[in-house]
Amino acid sequence: MTEQKSKFNFFSFYERYGLFIILAVMLFCFGIINPNFLSKNNLLNILRQISIYGIMASGMTVVLLCGEIDLTPGALVAFSGVIIAMCVSNGMNMFLAAVIGVLVAGAVGALNGFFTMQFKLPSMLVTLGFQFMIRGIGYVITDGKPVYGLPKSFETLGGGYIVGIPIPIICLVIVAVIFIIFLKYTKYGRYYYAVGGNKEAANLCGISPKTVVISAMIISAMCSGFSGVIWASRLASGQPTVGLTYEMQVIAAVVIGGTSLTGGEGNVARSYIGAIILGVLYNGLNLIGVNPYWQQVATGGIIIAAITLDSLNRINRK
């Protein structure tokens, strides 16, 4: 018995430190091949690149926790960006416009949740449908062309700095802190785990799965809307074509972080690590001059490796 305790268990070790080790190894390797990789500028650059993915991953984690999925984020990034750009270029106060952008996205999330729960549909299909609709409406109202004519001050959110740190990173950190606290230290956070773990039991405990799932969808959509605001500010325009397949990157980040697709199990802090791993991978491969086609192959490899280890870990625990 004592022998067994002292025996090194790869899986429990991986469960605790695996993500950090993968990240450390990547930083180390890229740093050796190209010393510029570890420069302060480049590291900030990576964080800025992942900031909007990180924000979207926050909402996506909540959705996956309750056993659903959201495929609208990419379309919503474009849509809310377009709406804000149109409002601001027509003279609206840009803060008000940003709020409108986020709220419109939230409304789409409410529809996602409502259709999923009211008519007992798979969220994958409902959000796939809304993904097309939202993307399409974005094209319709802009005629497929970017919306320009934004004031210079609007670019601060996406391109500005506070004490040398890009503002999008600060946005991500604030969002991350809110989500970590929300999921771990509030009763509402517990609801998502409960509904994802066992909808029927949750209902009998007075937790309405319908309300919980709809709220998760709204949260996810608002995160996407907020990312859209930052993105529009970075691009200094509303681009109806941006954000294609962002949801896939975001789901990849969350899943690498170990959140279960079947719901009930996961951790939002790890989703951020997942996003950072993906960001480091792209940036590092770029810097050391790897062909972009191979970058895609590498991303796929990381996803497969992470979910396989996760699953082996789960099997091992039984």
């Binding site: 018995m1 067994q4 268990n9 230290y185 509030t186 009763k187 509402y188 517990r190 785990y193 409960a194 773990g197 066992n198 029927e200 039991a201 949750a202 209902n203 009998l204 405990c205 007075g206 937790i207 309405s208 279960s260 009930g264 199990e265 625990r317």
Partner: protein, 500 residues
Amino acid sequence: MAVLEMKNISKEFPGTKALDQVDFSLEAGEIHALMGQNGAGKSTLMKIMSGVYSCDSGAILLEGKEIRIRNPKDALQHGISIISQELSLCPYLSIAENIFLGRLPMKRGTVDWSGLYQQADQVLKEIGVDLNPHTKAGELSVAQKQLVEIAKAMSRDTKILLMDEATSALTPSEIESLFKFTRDLQKKGLTIVYISHKMDEIFELCQRMTVLKDGKLIGVYTTEEMSPVKVTELMVGKNLGEYFSHDSSEFENKYFDRVRLSVKGLNRKGVLKNISFELYEGEVLGLSGLMGAGRTETLRAIYGVDRIASGEFFIDGEEYIPKAPKEAMKNGIAFITEERKEQGLFLEMSVGQNLTIASLNQLSKAGFMNSKEEVSLINDYFSRLSVKAASHRVKVKSLSGGNQQKVIISRWLAAKPKILLMDEPTRGIDVGAKQEIYNLIRDLAKEGYSILVVSSELPEIKKICDRVLIMNQGKIAGSLNNKELDDDVMNAMMSQIASD
């Protein structure tokens, strides 16, 4: 002659030694009981026999020859079938498909559907089960599913049949016909291993028994040299003088005057007909009846889970409308469901989180959890109900059935209800834990809780209920006081189906 011998079987899981050099041997044609509390290693031994687990060390001999059972398929090929506690039917396939899953009859390279249904029909008829083989398994009740499991095992060329809690959801008459069938199988030369928490079944059916405790072999006995008390003492390892006594004086000296819950004219289309009754403060009221009599449905209606056609409800004289579980909880009702895993537990969540999930409102302020209070509430109930868990942080799925049930009862007591609805509160848990739960139920009643219990086990009803309502086809057929409880009377009331 020993048909199957298992020698020096050991199996270790991370942290626990599930089996420690256990010997187990089956004589051809006997019905052999495997006894022990939850966690004693019965299920592990069964799973090794049926190929779900492989043993770390030890040998298995079938008819004198050493065999290896690496997976369930090996076991089946050696003629070892299991009817397990956890049902494993595919809900969207028909009964016939489930019975012949993996070996559907073929004709010219495609499935021979008419042959399949014919054969399935024959198997069902043989064991006297009146089910249409075209019905989807998902539409069946728990009892019916169990019968299909039995049919599935019987349809194979089985030499050794492992029955793990096969009767836990069956009604008395269903159990009787199962016993008759089991004995017929025995006459045909089948060897049967029988696991059950119901002592009376063991003594009625089995010739020998092997008792396990904490993964170790305690001994092998014939049923004749044993008594239920002796077996229980071996299983628990303690002297249990009053375990099987039934003290009816406790019930006689009680009288009730305050109506807590009153139900008037409860109707649900095709399920419940004009149900009216009163539940008093401090009373344990049993709901007895056959499967499908409407017992669970009555609880669900009170708790606001299912839509009802009509009915009035009063709690402490005030009208209560069961719109949703949330509403029921607000009015002080708690519901402990029959299927722990499906409707009760959050398997991936910790023991502690499972315990507090129904009282998050009282544990939080402005939405933020007070984790200090949460931990102290958890510890309170851990000691009050003597929940055995390594820590409140381990996942609830790692606990034994009895402890899981205690966690669920704790969950609902923590929500501070006045009325407890309990559906088969001791299903699938071992004798020791059962007795603890009976005591708990009686204690709660003394504290003033009103408890409505659905149970299929008559001894259980006798032991805990002040009064019993007998349900039959969605109606209340009668009401009996504890001292009037008599198996024959109850059986008659439950099954007066044809007469009206």
